[in-house]
Symmetry: C2
Subunit: 342 residues, 2 copies
C-alpha cells in the first residue's frame, strides 16, 4: 500500500497512483485527525471522495504516530493523552476516539489502537502493552459493531504486539485470532531494532495468525525486507520508503537504490530500469538527474511514480512466483542481485 | 505559453501541460545553458526529447535573465559578460552564443539577443540599446542562416526595444520589420514600470509591426493585462505568473485571484471554478486548501494545472470573441468582473 499520510500519496495525483498499479492505499489517522480533521472529511463525503481515490483505503489507528511523533504522551488504560506535534494542542486517543475518527474518514479497513512498546523494552512493560492492546482490540471491535461500522461493510484488523518476547508474540497473535478478526497485523516492528531482530519478531508472530486471513506488517520495508517477510507469510505492507527516498532524489533498481545526484548519471540516456513500463520510463536518467539537481517538483513526482511502481511490480512478481512454486529460489536471487549493487 | 524554465513547466508533467490545452511552451536559454548545459541537451537529442514535450518550443535568448538575475554584467558591443547567479562562473552571451545555444536546444522559435534597458532610462541609453539590439538582431539572423538553423525549419523572432520613448519604439519596430522576421516581440516591458506605462509602450510598438505576423509581449501578464494587450494587437504571451502563484497556494477565478489559505475555503465543497473542465476540477476547494495548508506537493500540481488551464481557456475565449466580433465588449465585462472580486 502506497502511503497517503495527509490525504495524498506525496507528489502523486490519484490517477498516477492508480496507473502505478496500486489497488489500495493507506491513510494516517493521526495526521488526518489533526489536519484537516476527521469531521471535516466526513462532512465532505469521506476520505475517498475528499481525495478522489475510489479504491479501498486502510487507515492506521494513529497510535503508532502518537508514540513516534507526539510530545508528552501519557498512556492510560483508557487510551493515550498527548500533545499535537503541529500546534501542541492537548489531545486524547482511545478505542472510541480512533474508531470514531476512522468511521468519519470512511476507511475500508480500520486498525485497532494498540500500545507499541519501544525497542528494547522490559518483559514487564511488554506484558502490560500486550494485555492493554488486547483489551483495546476487543473494545474497538465492539464499538465498530455498535456504531454500525462493520454492518456497513467496513472491516477492523487487529494488531499483535509482543516486542522481542516470542512467547508474548505467540500469545498476542493467538488471543487475537480467537476473536476472529478479518485481518491481523504484526505491530511493534520497525521501531529501531536491527533487521535480523525485526524478522525474528515477524517469524515469531505470523505462524500463530490464521493463514487464510491477510497478515500485515505495518510500516515496512526495503525491497529485500518485503521479500523476506513474504517468505514468513506476510501478505500486506505499507511503507513511506519508496515515496520518501524519491523526494530525496533516489530510485529503486534491481541492482539497488541509486542516487540521481551522482555525476555518473549526468549524460545517461537510459531509463531508470530497462523494461519497467511506467510514465517515468519515458525519461532518461540524465533528465531525471537534471530535475533533481535543479530542485524541480517534477523530480519528486517522476521518481515517486517510478518507486511506487517498482514496489508494486515487485510484489506482483512475488505473487506470480508463489503461484509458480519457485518463490524461494527467485527471491533469493533477486535479493542477491539487489544487494550486490550495480 | 506556459513557462518551462528548466526543461519542466514547474510542478506539471508534460502530459498535464498538454491536457491543460497548451500548444507551445517556453524554455529559458539562460537557465538551460547554466544547467544542465545546452551541449548536454543537444547530445541527448534536443530539448523536446530531453523533457518529453513534442509540441513547439520557443526559447528566449537569455539576455533578459542576464539583466534580471546575473551579477556584475558588462554590456559590450559584441555581447554581455556576466557571472552565473548559481555559482558565480564568468560567462558571455553574444549573438553567436545565444544562437548556438538555441540551436543546441533545438528551439522551434529562437529569440534574438537584445539589450533591455532598465525603467526608467535616459533617452541616450535607450538610443544605444535600440541601436545595439538592431545590430544584434541582424547578426542573429545571419548566424541562423549560415549555420543551417533556418533552413532546417526553425524560426527566429526579433525584439523591439525603445523603453518609454514612442519614437524610438516606432523606429525599433519599423527597422526590424524591414528585415522581415517571421515574428516580433515587444521587449523591455514588465521591468518595474506601472501598468499604464507598460500598456502605453505596447501601444507605441505593435502598430509598427506587421499585423500578419505574430506579435509577442515577453514575460506578461495578469489575466486583465493579457486581454488589454490582445486589444492592442498582441498574439503571443509567456508568463510565470500562473505557475508561480499556484505554488504559493493561489488560484485564478473569473472573480479574481483567490488565496486557498483563506479560512473561508476550509469547508468549501465546490471546485475552484464551476464549469471549467480540467483535472483539478474533480477536487473541492476544501481539499485543495487542505493540501496547501499541509504543504503537500500535490497542492502545487493541482493549482498549477488549474491556473495554466485558466489562462489557456481565457485566450481561447478571447479568440472566439475576436472571431465573433464582440471582443471589446466581452473583454471589458470580463475585466470588470475580475477586478470587482468575488
Amino acid at each position: 500500500m502506497p502511503v497517503g499520510t495527509a490525504a495524498t500519496v506525496k507528489a502523486m495525483t490519484v490517477d498516477q497512483v492508480k496507473d502505478a498499479g496500486a489497488d489500495i492505499i493507506l491513510g494516517n489517522t493521526y495526521h488526518l485527525n489533526l489536519r484537516p480533521g476527521s469531521e471535516l472529511v466526513r462532512d465532505l463525503g469521506g476520505l475517498h471522495k475528499f481525495m478522489g481515490w475510489h479504491g479501498p483505503i486502510l487507515t492506521d489507528s494513529g497510535g503508532f504516530q502518537v508514540f513516534s511523533l507526539a510530545k508528552l504522551r501519557d498512556i492510560r488504560d483508557d487510551g493515550i493523552a498527548f500533545q499535537s506535534h503541529i500546534d501542541g494542542a492537548k489531545l486524547f486517543l482511545g478505542p472510541r476516539e480512533v474508531m470514531t475518527i476512522q468511521q468519519n474518514l470512511g476507511s475500508d479497513i480500520a486498525m485497532v489502537i494498540d500500545e507499541c512498546p519501544p525497542w528494547p523494552c522490559s518483559r514487564e512493560d511488554c506484558r502490560a502493552a500486550v494485555d492493554r492492546s488486547y483489551r483495546w482490540a476487543k473494545q474497538c471491535r465492539q464499538i465498530a459493531t455498535d456504531n454500525g461500522f462493520l454492518a456497513s461493510g467496513h472491516h477492523v484488523f487487529a494488531i499483535a504486539q509482543g516486542s522481542t518476547f516470542d512467547d508474548l508474540r505467540r500469545e498476542a497473535a493467538e488471543s487475537l485470532a480467537a476473536l476472529d478478526f478479518p485481518g491481523y497485523a504484526v505491530g511493534g516492528v520497525s521501531v529501531g531494532e536491527p533487521e535480523p531482530e525485526m524478522l525474528k519478531q515477524v517469524a515469531a508472530t505470523t505462524p500463530f495468525m490464521p493463514a487464510d486471513k491477510p497478515r500485515y506488517t505495518m510500516g515496512l520495508g526495503t525491497p529485500p525486507q518485503i521479500l523476506k517477510m513474504i517468505a514468513l507469510g506476510v501478505d500486506m505492507f505499507d511503507c513511506v520508503h519508496p515515496t520518501r527516498v524519491a523526494r530525496n532524489g533516489a530510485a529503486f533498481t534491481p541492482d539497488g537504490l541509486i542516487n540521481l545526484r551522482n555525476e555518473r548519471y549526468r549524460t545517461d540516456p537510459n531509463p531508470l530500469v530497462e523494461g519497467l513500463a511506467n510514465y517515468t520510463a519515458g525519461f532518461s536518467r540524465a533528465y531525471l538527474r537534471h530535475l533533481v539537481m535543479a530542485g524541480e517538483i517534477l523530480a519528486s513526482t517522476l521518481l515517486t511514480i517510478h518507486n511506487v511502481h517498482f514496489y508494486l511490480d515487485l510484489v506482483s512478481q512475488a505473487r506470480a512466483h508463489i503461484e509458480a512454486g519457485d518463490f524461494s529460489v527467485w527471491s533469493q536471487a533477486w535479493i542477491a542481485r539487489y544487494e550486490a549493487g550495480g
